[in-house]
């Protein structure tokens, strides 16, 4: 089958019409995709691996542990719970490490920018000032770059912090959450340190109590969510501009027949931003024209795509699962990759075409790729070198097929700042309307759909879940490849309000927003933490994130980063639902994740296999939070008489009263 004419005949898991159209073409007949490999591999996943009870942490094993069978514990005596917890914790550490290393590059790029090196500049001064306040950096009568440099250096110091001091951004959380972290002793200290300590504690013969292991897993995850990821998002926004609503297009149809198509794939926007600048350079455009192209068309893949989509409206051609298919169009001159989630197979697919796979980060090379190291000190020059190579490929393009009809309009750019503005304008910006409409039940709650896509479920799983959620009047926020997938489904568009239940539709139509709000790349999940915290602070929905009718899901997760994200959500009080977890082989630990964590964090993990089950789990969780808040009871309209207005005088009246006169 895999070598059949269409490349993927009979593969029922592809529902996406653009993917199908491309793979049906002659030019794609020799392309082998992940779909083919799944079929070809022909074996089920290892039971111990998928149950989380295979221990390879020392050379006495590997030990396959069977929970409940006395003789089948580890050579060292490690139980199923210990082993599964250690494996789970190491997954968290790996995910956090990926975000941490990404963030480090962004912070370093930010420092260079503050020093006046390179093509970028501080774009969002207001946000810089807001961040300065959090970091306790003086802003009065100071040059923007000075402030940025001081913040940048403080941010960089957070990676290697050796003191017991908690990370700076933790104080953005609710008071109650900060107290929980403090009480548990899991306030993260340094980005690198928490990963190192996690790796140490899961080494043979160190931490052998799953609850204790999970404390460090939480700390490590928090160092990601409230640490490195948040630093990355905030500094990237300040440097490249905080996303504001803008129109764009997604899906393979964004590739252009008569232009040099360069796809940028991976996660770090430093190079991609430089490519965007270089692609507008007359010299580059001239070069393209000389080669017979009408221009240069940048298109995103995976989260690098989401970064430039959010900030520049650059189209996104594909998410993770479509990366090989994008190349199969034969229309891509170069795929420029940085780090994370780049399949080794892209170099193989490229061999069928004129396409170059250009690796740009010393950390991430692959056989068959061309390496051009991105030099952040000479970012524009690096970008031009890469573009030139791609442009020169244009003439070599053979037959190509672009499914031009299958591209969808999206409206993106929903940073938490945008949401704040969008709900009240410049003068009344606040989360009040969101909270109000949650309280009055028009919006039942908020669901975050984040993370990857994979091949375990059909490629319309995100769509099925999202449609069910919005039909039940739950507002969806999305990041990463989940957001791209929902964009492809036409849901990241204001006109999709028609698929909502009546009351959510009414709110979407009032604001003019899509029912699915694209909040950025996977590193931008920190935006969701801030948005949730703002909802709490706005009032009326409890005292902490765990009171909110909100829940997250990474239904088609595949990257270890998704587990780190899931863990920082749970440790922040937000429930998450995953399709599966590699912990089912350890009953007690599994129960701890799926139930008992509630007592510690006010949230726990959930597992649901099918898309509709995932949606139902989310809806039920939201409704139970609503019940607990007491907002599911019908309330009579409060009418204010003079006495009630007088009571406002003591400041305890309405929740968003901004000023109580001179103090």
């Amino acid at each position: 089958m895999a070598t059949s004419k269409t490349g993927c005949e009979g593969c029922t898991d592809i529902t996406c019409s653009s993917s199908k159209l491309v793979l049906e073409q002659d030019i794609a007949k020799n392309v082998r995709t992940a779909y083919d490999r799944i079929q070809a591999r022909g074996m089920a996943a290892c039971l111990f691996g998928s149950g989380g009870t295979c221990c390879r942490n020392c050379n006495m094993g590997p030990c396959q542990i069977i929970d409940g069978v006395e003789d089948m514990i580890g050579v060292c005596g490690a139980t199923a719970d210990t082993v599964a917890a250690r494996n789970f914790a190491r997954t968290v550490a790996a995910g956090a490490a990926a975000h941490g290393d990404h963030a480090r590059e962004m912070v370093k790029g930010f420092i260079e920018t503050a020093r006046g090196n390179g093509p970028h500049e501080i774009k969002d001064v207001e946000k810089l000032h807001a961040l300065a306040k959090i970091f306790g950096v003086e802003i009065e009568e100071r040059d923007v770059n000075d402030i940025a440099l001081e913040i940048g250096e403080m941010a960089l110091a957070e990676f290697g912090n050796q003191s017991e001091q908690g990370m700076t951004m933790l104080k953005r959380a609710t008071k109650k959450r900060q107290e929980i972290w403090k009480k548990l002793g899991i306030e993260p200290r340094g980005v690198d340190r928490e990963v190192v300590e996690m790796m140490h504690r899961t080494h043979i013969g160190v931490d052998q109590e799953y609850e204790n292991i999970m404390l460090q897993a939480s700390r490590c995850a928090l160092s990601d969510g409230w640490g490195s990821s948040m630093l990355s998002t905030e500094l990237t926004d300040i440097m490249f501009g905080t996303p504001v609503p803008r129109r764009a297009i997604v899906d393979l149809g964004v590739l252009k027949k008569d232009q040099v198509n360069v796809t940028v794939h991976g996660h770090e926007p430093l190079l991609a931003e430089a490519l965007c600048i270089a692609a507008e350079d007359p010299e580059m455009i001239e070069l393209a024209k000389k080669q017979g192209a009408k221009g240069i068309n940048l298109a995103g893949v995976c989260c690098t795509g989401n970064e430039i989509l959010m900030r520049r409206g650059i189209p996104v051609a594909a998410g993770f699962v479509q990366q090989e298919i994008a190349l199969s169009t034969g229309a891509v001159e170069a795929m420029v990759v940085d780090v994370q989630c780049i399949m080794q197979s892209v170099a193989e697919v490229a061999k069928n075409f004129h396409t170059d796979i250009i690796t740009t980060n010393y950390r991430a090379k692959m056989p068959g790729g061309v390496h051009i190291q991105f030099d952040e000190h000479a970012a524009l020059e690096s970008a031009k070198e890469i573009l030139s190579r791609a442009i020169k490929n244009y003439k070599k393009r053979g037959t190509c097929y672009i499914p031009e009809e299958t591209k969808l309009d999206v409206v993106v750019g929903f940073s938490h700042e945008t949401i704040n503005y969008m709900l009240g304008g410049r003068f009344r910006a606040s989360y009040r309307p969101l909270n109000d409409n949650i309280i009055n039940g028009r919006i039942r709650g908020v669901a975050a759909m984040v993370g990857c896509d994979n091949f375990k479920l059909a490629d319309d799983a995100h769509e099925i879940i999202a449609r069910e959620l919005i039909k039940n009047n739950i507002l969806v926020v999305a990041t990463g490849c989940a957001a791209t997938s929902l964009g492809r489904a036409g849901l990241v568009n204001p006109e999709a309000a028609r698929y909502c239940g009546d009351s959510l539709r009414e709110v979407c139509e009032t604001v003019g927003m899509p029912p699915v709000l694209h909040m950025g790349s996977c590193v931008d999940n920190s935006r969701i933490l801030i948005a949730l915290t703002q909802m709490v602070n706005q009032g009326g929905l409890g005292e902490d994130i765990d009171d909110l009718p909100a829940i997250g899901t990474a239904p088609l997760w595949m990257s270890e980063k998704a587990v780190a994200i899931g863990q920082y959500f749970v440790a922040s009080g937000a429930q998450v639902v995953f399709q599966d977890l590699a912990t089912s082989g350890a009953k007690t630990f599994n129960k701890y994740l799926l139930e008992d964590m509630m007592g510690t964090y006010g949230a726990h993990w959930n597992v649901a296999k099918e898309p509709l089950d995932i949606a139902r789990t989310m809806i039920e969780a939201i409704e139970s939070k609503r019940d607990a808040l007491g907002i599911n009871k019908k309330k009579e309209r409060v009418l204010f008489d003079m006495d009630m207005r007088r009571d406002l005088g003591d400041g305890s009246g309405l929740t968003d009263v901004g000023c109580h006169g001179p103090t």
């Binding site: 009240g424 009414e506 007088r646 000023c659 001179p662």
Partner: protein, 735 residues
């Protein structure tokens, strides 16, 4: 759906900003950048721009920056498909609309100075009043802060039928709201004209305010709200969020639109959302029901006229407590200011035409039959037009909590309670009372007994905690009236003697007043027997009665405690109370000083005292005096210094009554410090003032106090004081 509304609002905003900017360019050419611009007699510049941006537009040239701001705020038009979120841009567009309209109107005041009357009531030739100046604003503001007016309806357009218009206006009046009228509908009709055509009295006095026949005048309504927040709420100019939220929570205003809604109207409606003011329309336009910017819905449409007012107050979230008084005329605070003019007059009682007297006395429980209202002599139905009658109104009350001290308080209510009746005008009190009965009331079947019904019903309602029984005996028989008169005079004499003997020293308890805290959150008044509230409306006995009626209400007893400085009026108990009640904003208050920890003010003072350093004396200016004062500021600017709940030494709100108190400015040397009063004020209090001058052994002082006739600069006043040998010049420096 609201896309239609937001699209239209943004379109409208573009048109309005374009129009205003064109007008500005013209004016700039014609008058130059240095031409002064302002709305009439206000210290708040162009109040919306001032309150939102903190920018003072004083000259035409100042408008340039504001137009730039408008352009920044103006969003792109909403696209047909794949639109960007439009709510926030529409709100911003609405704000730009108001900035532009305010500048447009300000230019109009230069271009066509007589376009508006600038008065409280229409003139014979012009119906349109234009923006409220600060005199009107402060006077009416009092009603906002004490709750007698919960807010306003800003009306654009008019229903087809003038009867319907009148009924809606009446309903709004009955809910105690102000009715601000702007613009005509596409049918060409405006509500103000309809009311006038239907014989309804319009003007500030009846709360039916004909602002203008154009939509740009909506800024007069919104500017009024902005000033309420700044003047009474202490919200600083430029604190846009504070101002908007203050109005959302405290000023119960809304927009009523009649007929087809133009883009320009949508733009104005979108602007009003920022303040939390929703729109109610009778036309088939989309609705915006989700909440958030406004307390409840934002736009409710297709509302039938019969339900219009009810729907409006429900959408705004307003509860109006109205007790129905069973009389055929409408009844409520909105009718208090209504005049009965010569042409409206059917007959009158008292006021020098006939003998008239009103008095309230307390009796034993078994001497009063509750609800009994008797009339002796002729009623309205027995007489012809122009036949005036003598009248006595004797109200006898009884109650377990009733004290004779409360008699004058209850009696003082007669004036406004009778005035609340539509078609009746009451002037004066006691034996100089005067009632004028209008045709309108007679046509509806007015009887003198209705006065008794009103007094019975309302006294029960407002003072139910201290009285159990009320009976009213009215007579129009000369002989009886004279008997009541004789009895009343004895009562008055006893009462005055008792009150006159009451001093700050004889009473251990003073009363606080935080009635205004719905609007002025950090302000606390301290009312002593010798210093009535600066609004002039609440004295010590009122405080006492109010506390009796409502022990957790706005008037609380304050044990004055040890007096640490008798001249300054420093009391340990007072300071503790004020510190706590102002939530730490005001730690200390000196009861008798202007210079040292003066009492704060909400903004609804009758007059303001200010130190004149050169003259070494104090001037006092009342709210109605619009001219310049020797302080170099008009009342309106001084009000900005004294109001908003902040202590500003050298500036203080005072009541007129306090000017003849023995405790007046004790710390600064008392009455001898007073060097300047407006003539209107000096005349008003002349009798008592002369008496006080004599009392302090300086009868000549009265003539030494200057008025604007002697001058309105410190130099002029100083020369006059020197000429007269005013004692202030010899006193130690007060500054």
């Amino acid at each position: 759906m609201s896309k239609i509304i937001c699209s239209a609002a943004i379109r409208g905003a573009h048109k309005i900003v374009d129009m205003a900017e064109e007008k500005y360019e013209e004016a700039l050419k014609k008058y130059g950048a240095d031409q002064e611009v302002s709305l009439p007699n206000t210290a708040y510049f162009l109040p919306i721009i001032y309150s939102m941006l903190g920018a003072k537009v004083e000259k035409i040239g100042d408008m340039k920056d504001i137009f730039q701001e408008c352009r920044t705020l103006l969003p792109d038009l909403v696209s047909e498909h794949n639109w960007l979120p439009y709510l926030a841009p529409a709100l911003d567009a609405g704000m730009a609309t108001y900035f532009a309209e305010e500048m447009y109107e300000a230019i109009r005041y230069i271009e066509t100075p007589d376009f508006y009357t600038k008065t409280e009531e229409p003139t014979d030739s012009n119906l349109w009043l234009g923006a409220a100046d600060d005199v009107i604003f402060r006077k009416r503001g009092v009603e906002f802060v004490d709750g007698s007016a919960p807010g306003f309806a800003a009306i654009v357009g008019a229903p087809d039928d003038k009867e319907v218009a009148s009924r809606i206006a009446l309903e709004l009046q009955e809910k105690n709201l102000y009715i601000f009228m702007h613009d005509h509908s596409v049918n060409g009709k405006n509500m103000s004209q309809q009311l006038v055509d239907n014989g309804v009295q319009v003007g500030w006095n009846t709360r039916l305010v004909p602002f203008a026949d154009n939509y740009t005048s909506v800024v007069f309504s919104i500017g009024f709200a902005c000033r309420v927040a700044m003047a009474f709420g202490g919200i600083k100019p430029g604190d846009f969020r504070g101002n908007l939220i203050y109005n959302k929570d405290r000023t119960f205003a809304f927009v009523m639109a009649f007929g087809k809604v133009s883009d320009e109207w949508y733009a104005n409606a979108a602007g009003a959302f920022n303040w939390g003011f929703p729109t109610i329309s009778d036309y088939d336009i989309p609705e915006v029901l989700p909440t958030g910017i406004c307390t409840y819905e934002h736009v409710v449409s297709n509302v039938p006229h019969e339900e219009f007012v009810q729907k409006a107050i429900e959408v705004r979230g307003l509860k109006v407590n109205v007790t129905k008084i069973d009389i055929p005329m409408s009844f409520g605070p909105a009718f208090e200011g209504e005049r009965i003019r010569k042409d409206d007059l059917f007959m009158e009682c008292g006021g020098g035409r006939t003998t008239g007297v009103e008095v309230l006395i307390s009796k034993e429980m078994d001497e009063v039959e509750d609800g009994l209202v008797t009339l002796e002599g002729k009623d309205i139905s027995d007489i012809k037009q122009g036949e005036n009658l003598p009248i006595s109104i004797l109200v006898e009350v009884a109650g377990r909590e009733m004290q004779s001290d409360f008699e004058p308080i209850l009696e003082r209510q007669f004036h406004h309670l009778m005035n609340y009746i539509q078609g009746i005008m009451h002037i004066g009190q006691r034996d100089i009372m005067w009632i004028r009965i209008g045709h309108g009331a007679v046509e509806k079947g007015f009887s003198f007994k209705h006065l008794g019904k009103v007094l019975h019903g309302k006294l029960h309602q407002e003072f139910g905690a201290i009285l159990d029984k009320v009976q009213v005996k009215i007579s129009t028989v000369q002989e009886t009236v004279e008997q009541v008169m004789a009895m009343a005079k004895e009562t008055y004499a006893e009462r005055d003697l008792r009150l006159g003997n009451m001093t700050d020293e004889t009473e251990e308890v003073f009363y606080s007043c935080t009635l205004c805290q719905s609007f002025a959150p950090s302000h606390v008044c301290v009312i002593t027997p010798e210093r009535v509230g600066m609004c002039g409306a609440y004295n010590w006995l009122d405080g006492k009665a109010s506390y009796q009626i409502n022990p957790t209400g706005p008037n609380q007893p304050i044990e004055k405690g040890e007096c640490t400085d008798a001249e300054l009026g420093d009391f340990i108990g007072i300071n503790e109370f004020v510190n706590q009640a102002s939530r730490g904003a005001v730690p200390e208050v000196s009861c008798y000083s202007l210079m040292n920890n003066p009492m704060t003010a909400c903004g609804c003072f009758e007059a303001i005292a200010a130190m004149l350093p050169q003259c070494n004396g104090i001037m006092v200016v009342n709210r109605d005096y619009m001219g310049m004062t020797p302080s170099g500021m008009k009342f309106t600017s001084l009000a900005g210094m004294a109001g908003g709940g902040a202590q500003t030494p050298g500036f203080m709100g005072v009541s007129k009554h306090y000017l003849t108190s023995r405790k007046l400015f004790m710390a600064e040397g008392g009455l001898k410090r007073v060097v300047w009063l407006p003539k209107i004020l000096k005349d008003e209090i002349s009798e008592k003032l002369k008496a006080r001058c004599e009392e302090i052994g300086m009868p000549e002082l009265y003539d030494m106090i200057a008025t604007e006739e002697q001058g309105t600069t410190e130099e002029e006043i100083l020369a006059f004081l020197k000429e007269k040998g005013h004692p202030a010049l010899e006193m130690e420096s007060a500054v």
